[in-house]
Amino acid sequence: MMTNGETSAVDLGTPPSGDPRRPAGAGLAYESIRKVFGKGADEFVALDDIDFSTTPGDFVSLVGPSGCGKSTLLKLTAGLLNPTAGSVLVGGKEINGPRTDIGLMLQTSTLFPWRNVVENISLPLDIRRDRSKNREARIHEVLELVGLTGFEYHYPRELSGGMQQRVALCRLLISDPDLMLLDEPFGALDEFTREHLNTELARICEHEHKTTLFVTHNVPESVFLSDVVVVMGAHPGRVLEIIEVDLPRPRLPKLRDSPEFSEICVRIRSILGLS
């Protein structure tokens, strides 16, 4: 499924043969999305006139202040909310409820404390009653991908916050979704762990070539990870500008110190009115 058996931890950074940006995953398309919460005097326009689409395989970040509706847009994409108007298309098909080809990861790991690491990762497989023989092998594959080999039978409370998020990422990867939705996945972690995990995430996404929608309010984080940064504004939630991030891959930590990187960050910050 996600890796081809002989993949080892060493070559994970290099995309499979020849094709560095093999189109994979599903393209995203938002068509005149409007989302309103409440009625009458309590009406609150969370999103207005969201209209853009992305290329399959792209890493897309939604960046903006709180109240810009970025999490709402992610939930609409997950099929957990319905738009008031307009439609969301993933891989060309309209969203009208949760779909198994779309995976979700939240800021809290929401690991089940009564399940150990392997059991937590198997949750999606249990729910779709996947009893295939290679379950275990696939779980070990994703664990290796995030560097958690050896922690198979630990319980969540025995893991650090960063490790818990890695397990949550494994639980997402095990379904082999065409689209990964990440809602501030490392937002609750300390700066150091967060940067480290972002580097890991960049590596994993380059390896997996999955379309990814990433919600954050951290500008450098979005630039580091993304092919496309969607800069959003609040009241009502709307798209201010869409920035292509044309930085080389693989994305490595030293990229954060490059002038090109800073330049894009500064541009986004100025769109957001931060500088």
């Binding site: 997950a78 949760p98 939240l106 089940f112 009564w114 729910i127």
Partner: protein, 297 residues
């Protein structure tokens, strides 16, 4: 030691669910703590408790030598008389037989009351119609001091086993009911989002998430209920039987054999402790992921 409030035993409404006691949990602060560390902590606790106990007994003994007008020994007895009475009691077959009766009644009352509370709690939490139909009635009954029902049960079930089992079951019923409802009603929003994104069915959400998430709270209710059952049985026995621990205490007090009475009370305390210990051990196995100090919510 027991994390049961005395307000509950007289039937005051215990509307907030019984939460897991924070005290005396030192022996299992972290899951990573080794067995030897746990034993050492337990040893330390036991030693300190024994010292406190010894000092109190010594003060009691010294006071009993004081002026009878100030310290009437005849109704207060003293440790040097209670100790032999205690050892005599625990070696007497008749005493054991009576405690055995109390034990049976407690377990029976607990099983009946807890099962009823659990099943009704399950229905109220899972079926909206039941919630609307039963919850107001439950609240009403919960506010009634259950011990006050003792005469009613004696009138209904007569003297002997059934009235005290009924009393114990009634008292057990509520903490289990309330905690089952609370445990099943509190659902972590993010876990719910996750389950929905995975297209889990209602039944899957129950078996994979809600049931396990509710277990710690349900167990806290069961633990409280077990202690409540003992209270119910003893109250029943004080009122209306000619056997059981409560009967021994009642009769001893009536005959002013205070050394025996205190010995019986001592056995009863140990008995309660044993029940609680068993409940704790079972809980630690079933709700194994809750071994930390963290309060479940």
């Amino acid at each position: 030691m027991l994390d049961v409030t005395s307000a509950s035993e007289v039937g005051l409404p215990e509307s907030p669910p019984v939460t897991r006691g924070k005290s005396h949990r030192g022996a299992r602060r972290t899951a990573k703590r080794s067995r030897s560390e746990r034993l050492r902590a337990l040893g330390r606790q036991t030693l300190l408790a024994a010292v406190t106990f010894g000092v109190l007994a010594l003060i009691w003994e010294l006071l009993s030598n004081a002026d009878p007008g100030f310290w009437p020994e005849i109704i207060l007895s003293k440790p040097s008389e209670i100790t032999p009475a205690f050892f005599e009691a625990i070696t007497t077959r008749f005493v054991w037989e009576n405690y055995w009766v109390t034990f049976q009644a407690t377990i029976l009352g607990f099983v009946l009351g807890a099962a009823a509370g659990f099943i009704l709690g399950l229905m109220i939490a899972l079926i909206p119609v039941f919630s609307e139909a039963f919850y107001p009635v439950v609240i009403l009954f919960q506010s009634t001091p259950r011990v006050a029902l003792a005469p009613v049960f004696i009138a209904w079930f007569g003297f002997g086993m059934s009235s005290k089992v009924a009393l114990a079951a009634t008292i057990c019923f509520f903490p289990v009911l309330v905690n089952t409802i609370t445990g099943l009603s509190h659902i972590d929003e993010n876990a719910m989002l996750l389950m929905r994104s995975l297209k889990a069915s209602r039944w899957q959400i129950f078996t994979h998430l809600r049931w396990f998430a509710a277990l710690p709270t349900i167990f806290a209710g069961l633990k409280a209920a077990l202690t409540f059952a003992l209270i119910g049985v003893i109250v029943g026995e004080l009122k209306a039987t000619n056997e059981g621990a409560g009967f021994l205490i009642e009769r001893g007090s009536f005959q002013l054999r205070m050394d025996d009475v205190f010995a019986y009370l001592g056995i009863l305390a140990l008995f309660g402790l044993l029940l609680y210990g068993i409940a704790n051990a079972v809980e630690r196995r079933v709700v194994f992921w809750q071994a930390g100090d963290a309060e479940h919510d």
